[in-house]
């Protein structure tokens, strides 16, 4: 077996955090029965991806891409821009999901998946 | 010198009845105009097809490629001797059946007549398409449309029984087509072409086992429609359809399309040489002789007249397959002649059954005591056809059976000769009681003569007379005999 070195973990801690967060979110989306918790899971998942993009763009010692005299080296601004867009997508998805949940609660009187399934039969 | 003549006639022949179907639907509210279209389409179709005959008789073929689907696969038409034989047969009998249908449908005041005529015309289009297709793909396309266009005719009565018959029909035929299409795709991948070639386009490039499996799949695929046992059970239950449908489609067009496919596969896909090499020809001959005997035995115990005729059809279709599978000139001659002659005889029998039903509303043989005195003309014609089915001279059935026996003898197959003779005896056993009952048993009450309407009677007389005429004068000019002669080159 290959020995996992501490350095290897430290060098990639951002990816490990991304994976951990994404799995937490994924688990919540699939396994939780409460609709709101599903949405929370979805948000965690998406945030994990955002973090992945942001940390991917970051290079040690470089500055944010803003025109300031004296700073020569910038990090790649593109992932930030992409993530801005992705955040918008995330917000809209959450908004749609929340309004759906409000409607579901009105019609079924519950936001627990199994209870709703029981009612639909 | 054989030539491919480019001609759009085959397409016209297919399109005529398609157009007729559309016109029939358009004029659905005017029944005279609607039925005028049926008759005129049938006559036009027959004219177009027979106008191709002189060209074919000189040994040429007509060809037209519509479009190509894949490299070496196209939707194309080729009229050769075998194709025109089927085409003429189907289109000629369509004229008679149209006339008969009008009489039948009007006397019984059937519902949904527009649907009936429209799908009938479609079925004929498909049958013509099958006859004239130049490759397996085209043949399959029309084969499939034939299945679908006959389905509404089978379910015409709209009773639960009819629906279950229709369901059974679809299950059998669609399963058959699936196997057939699979076989077609496999042979395309083996040979890279699907065009019918005299002598077959498959060669021993792949292993013998593969070819044997392929042949078995083809036979199962086409065998459903040609009602080889044990794939036959849709045919007797499909007899719930109106009698003209049983007469033309279930005695001629549909089942003969299956046999036609078998002939195409034997002579144009595999080639008789390859089949004999692999010993598959004889295997097929023995396979179908099982059907010949067993179907006759089944026929013995049927009380419903149309069902008995259906089992007789099953048995007789296998005669054709037997002759063709023998792969010698006499066998082929007998098989293909039976292909034609059986059509005339069986359609007469079905027409008679329909006439009896229209006049007396009786379907069972046990109720037919003394019907011969009530309907003398119908029953005499019935008797002539029965003679033909049993192979008595001077009807045409004798000639085809004679060639079949010659072919079996030539192939040194004593067992097949015995099969043919036994089945003739069985034919007599299940047909003669009907005639005897009709003429010599006393009816419950005597009502005097009451025949079916002339629109029905005339087609009956014509077909019966033709079956005699073909027996007396088989090699009349332009007769089927000459077309069949052209096919000797297939072997």
């Amino acid at each position: 077996m290959r020995r996992v070195e501490l350095e290897w973990i430290v060098g990639r801690y951002n990816y490990l955090i991304f994976i951990a967060l994404a799995l937490i979110g994924f688990y919540a989306m699939i396994a939780k029965k409460n609709l709101i918790k599903k949405i929370i899971g979805m948000n965690i998942f998406q945030t994990a991806i955002f973090l992945f993009y942001i940390s991917m763009a970051d290079i040690e010692g470089r500055k944010a891409p803003i025109l300031v005299p004296g700073v020569e080296e910038y990090v790649n601004p593109l992932p930030h821009v992409l993530i801005l867009t992705a955040i918008v997508v995330c917000v809209s998805t959450t908004a749609v999901a929340l309004s759906l949940i409000v409607k579901i609660y009105q019609k079924f009187g519950s936001i627990e998946e199994d209870e709703i399934m029981e009612m639909m039969k | 010198m054989k030539m491919d003549i480019i001609s759009i006639k085959p397409i016209l022949a297919v399109l005529v009845s398609l157009m007729a179907a559309i016109l029939i639907v358009v004029f659905r509210d005017y029944r005279n105009i609607r039925e005028f279209w049926t008759i005129s389409a049938s006559i036009i179709k027959f004219t177009i097809i027979s106008s191709m005959l002189p060209c074919i008789l000189t040994g040429n073929t007509l060809y037209y490629e519509l479009f190509s689907v894949l490299p070496n696969i196209s939707v194309a038409f080729r009229v050769d001797a075998l194709g025109i034989l089927f085409g003429i047969l189907a289109s000629f009998l369509w004229i008679l059946t149209s006339i008969y249908s009008i009489g039948y449908m009007r006397s019984l005041d059937e519902h949904s007549q527009t649907r009936y005529y429209a799908f009938f015309a479609l079925a004929l289009s498909s049958a013509t398409g099958i006859a004239f297709s130049a490759n397996l793909l085209t043949l399959f396309i029309f084969y499939e449309t034939l299945t679908l266009s006959t389905y509404p005719l089978v379910v015409h009565k709209e009773t639960p029984k009819a629906r279950s018959a229709g369901r059974r029909y679809l299950i059998y035929t669609l399963s058959g087509s699936v196997i057939l299409l699979f076989a077609i795709i496999l042979s395309y991948s083996i040979a890279g072409t699907l065009d019918f070639v005299n002598g077959g386009f498959l060669s021993k490039s792949t292993s013998i086992t593969n070819l044997q499996i392929l042949f078995a799949m083809f036979i199962i695929g086409f065998g459903v429609k040609s009602a080889f046992m044990p794939l036959h059970s849709w045919l007797p239950s499909a007899m719930i359809a109106p009698t003209p449908v049983s007469a033309l489609l279930h005695a001629v067009a549909v089942v003969k399309a299956g046999i036609f496919g078998v002939i195409r596969v034997i002579y144009f896909v595999f080639g008789s040489e390859l089949l004999l090499d692999m010993g598959l020809g004889m295997a097929l001959a023995y396979f179908v002789s099982f059907t010949i005997i067993v179907a006759s035995l089944f026929a013995l115990v049927q009380d419903n007249l149309k069902r008995r005729l259906a089992y007789s059809t099953i048995s007789q279709l296998s005669y054709i397959a037997l002759g063709v599978a023998l792969s010698n000139p006499n066998g082929l001659m007998g098989g293909v002649l039976h292909f034609v002659y059986h059509a005339f005889m069986k359609i007469t029998l079905f027409f008679c059954a329909g006439a009896i039903y229209v006049v007396t509303h009786k379907e069972n043989i046990s109720e037919l005591n003394g019907i011969g005195r009530k309907m003398p003309i119908t029953m005499s014609m019935f008797f002539i056809a029965v003679l033909g089915m049993c192979g008595f001279p001077p009807t045409c059935g004798f000639i085809s059976k004679w060639y079949l026996l010659l072919g079996s003898a030539e192939a040194n197959q004593l067992l097949l000769i015995i099969v043919l003779i036994v089945s003739t005896l069985l034919n007599i056993a299940y047909f003669f009681p009907i005639v005897l009952r009709a003429f010599f048993k006393k009816p419950a009450k005597q009502n005097g003569i009451e025949e079916a309407p002339p629109l029905m009677l005339i087609p009956i007389i014509i077909t019966a007379l033709i079956s005699v005429l073909l027996g007396i004068w088989p090699d009349a000019p332009y007769s089927f005999f000459h077309i069949v002669r052209l096919m000797e080159g297939y072997i």
């Binding site: 994404a22 994924f26 989306m29 609709l35 599903k38 979805m42 998942f45 998406q46 991806i49 992945f52 993009y53 991917m56 593109l78 992932p79 992409l82 867009t85 992705a86 997508v89 809209s92 998805t93 749609v96 999901a97 759906l100 949940i101 409607k103 579901i104 019609k107 079924f108 709703i116 639909m120 | 519509l66 479009f67 190509s68 689907v69 894949l70 939707v75 399959f140 396309i141 029309f142 499939e144 449309t145 299945t147 679908l148 509404p152 379910v155 709209e158 009773t159 009819a162 629906r163 229709g166 369901r167 679809l170 669609l174 699936v178 299409l181 699979f182 795709i185 496999l186 395309y188 991948s189």
Partner: protein, 489 residues
């Protein structure tokens, strides 16, 4: 302004602007929303035809947004495949606009502006997906399409639609997240988002695990979007409970565009070499597809609700398309593309016929379809044409797509797939013929013709004519599809 030069973007922004106008118009004259949609969709249809004409005669169009050259800016690429999808989308969108008039008045009387806003947004984003050449742009449009689809499913009056929409949202977002991760991985190793640019840089990285992971994330994410079998659970509820117009859109276009994205990603970004040889993606995909074909059909047989049945049938039919992608040879891809076209028309026709039936008689259970053939002759005629085409009977369109797929399966030596394709036709026949049998061959006493409104019957009929035309005039399509297939491989 040079219209032809700007067509790639016009096709996207015209419906987008129309959708932005819709709420304002909705505030004042609710009725006009329909007309604006109709006019816009007609305009797009014309644009699409011009584009197709241009692409066929002059070749690909590359359009740089804001005149920023790739790989810095966003590039729109219209090649044969895109033009093919654009014409399909715009045609169905136009036809379904006509259909939507009655449907919207019936199913969501107060929400017409909302409906048409989302409808145009959906159309715009679908067109965006197929015309963009930028991976992230693809993701954004995919999400816009999905978001408007979630909302459109829920917009009706039905209670169950909300649950369907919610499950669709959860699964769809999951798929989108996977795609986003995939894009991130690709960006990580190539530093580019332009598809052509990535494709150029990838071959040297085929052994990289990051690329492998990216490919897998893409395939799983897109499989959710196209509802490939084990990931299909969201589909039946969403498609069955949506308004009929939207059901047509969802199974006719949204799924197809997912398939398009899959073709683009697999064939244009990762090449055949990669996903057939380096990773066994093609193998897995085709087996999944084969299972989907059978399982979808069997599920469909068990359904009583007509729209649910059609939805499950979509699962099965998407299996065909995925199978063609997995086979990754010329006939396979041609079969896939042809089936994208055919299935859009067939399923569109079936769903709109079902919608017309539900509109007129308020029946959804197929057992109540008795005698419908005589009551609604035109709708049912269209339904039967599409159903028989679905079964794969010649000379209708789907016969040829199945034929191509089967040939592709044989060509790649996997005859078992050919057999599955053919057997599934029988399963299709089982549920479609049972409907047809009930509709046509049952005796009823009250057989008066009462058709759905003409604005519903006409679109249904046009779609049915499409099913016939693509079969009969296959030879016109064939060289075009072959071009696309060879350019992809």
């Amino acid at each position: 302004m040079n219209i032809i030069q700007n067509l790639p973007i016009l096709v996207v922004i015209v419906p987008l602007i129309a959708s932005f106008c819709m709420p304002i118009i909705g505030l004042f004259r609710r009725r006009y929303c329909f007309y604006l949609t109709l006019i816009t969709n007609f305009l797009i249809l014309i644009f699409a035809m011009l584009l197709l004409n241009y692409v066929i005669n002059q070749g690909e169009i590359h359009y740089y947004l804001g005149n920023w050259e790739p790989p810095y800016g966003i590039e729109y690429v219209i090649d044969h495949l895109s033009a093919f999808m654009i014409i399909l989308i715009s045609f169905i969108a136009f036809i379904m606009t006509i259909y939507s008039k009655e449907d919207v008045e019936n199913e969501l009387p107060t929400n017409a502006p909302l409906f048409y806003t989302l409808f145009m947004l959906l159309t715009a984003s679908l067109l965006g997906i197929v015309s963009t050449g930028d991976l992230f742009n693809l993701y954004v449009f995919l999400e816009i399409a999905s978001l408007s689809a979630y909302t459109l499913v829920a917009v009706g009056k039905k209670k169950d639609a909300l649950i369907g929409s919610f499950n669709y949202l959860i699964m769809g977002t999951l798929g989108a997240c996977f795609i986003l991760i995939g894009i991130g991985f690709l960006y990580l190793v190539t530093g580019s988002l332009n598809m052509a640019d990535i494709a150029l840089r990838l071959p040297s990285l085929y052994s990289s695990h990051v690329v492998h992971a990216a490919a897998i994330f893409f395939v799983v994410g897109l499989s959710i979007k196209i509802a490939l079998f084990p990931l299909h659970v969201w589909l039946p509820d969403a498609h069955a409970h949506a308004p009929s117009t939207i059901s047509v859109f969802l199974s006719g276009l949204v799924l197809k565009v997912g398939a398009y994205a899959m073709i683009r990603v697999l064939f244009d970004i990762f090449t055949v070499e990669f996903f057939v040889n380096t990773l066994p993606i093609a193998e897995v995909l085709s087996w999944m597809a084969a299972i989907a074909i059978i399982a979808g059909s069997i599920n469909a047989i068990a359904q009583k609700d007509i729209k649910r049945m059609l939805a499950y049938s979509s699962v099965s039919q998407m299996g065909y398309i995925a199978l063609g992608i997995g086979l990754a040879n010329t006939p396979g891809i041609m079969g896939s593309l042809l089936h994208i076209l055919n299935h859009a028309f067939m399923k569109g026709c079936l769903f709109s016929a079902a919608g017309a039936i539900i509109h007129k008689y308020k029946i959804r259970n197929v057992h109540q379809f008795k005698g419908l053939g005589k009551k609604m002759p035109y709708t049912m005629a269209a339904f039967s044409i599409a159903a028989i085409s679905m079964v794969g009977a010649p000379p209708f369109g789907a016969f040829f797509s199945k034929l191509f797929l089967a040939l592709g399966a044989i060509e790649s030596g996997k005859w078992i797939f050919a057999l599955i394709i053919l057997i599934s036709s029988l399963l299709n026949a089982a549920y479609f013929f049972s409907i047809l049998e009930r509709a046509y061959f049952t005796k009823l006493h009250d057989e008066e013709i009462e058709e759905a409104p003409i604005s519903m019957v006409l679109p249904t009929f046009i779609l049915a004519m499409g099913c016939i035309a693509f079969g009969v005039f296959m030879f016109i399509l064939e060289p075009f599809l072959r071009d696309i297939a060879t350019s992809l491989l």
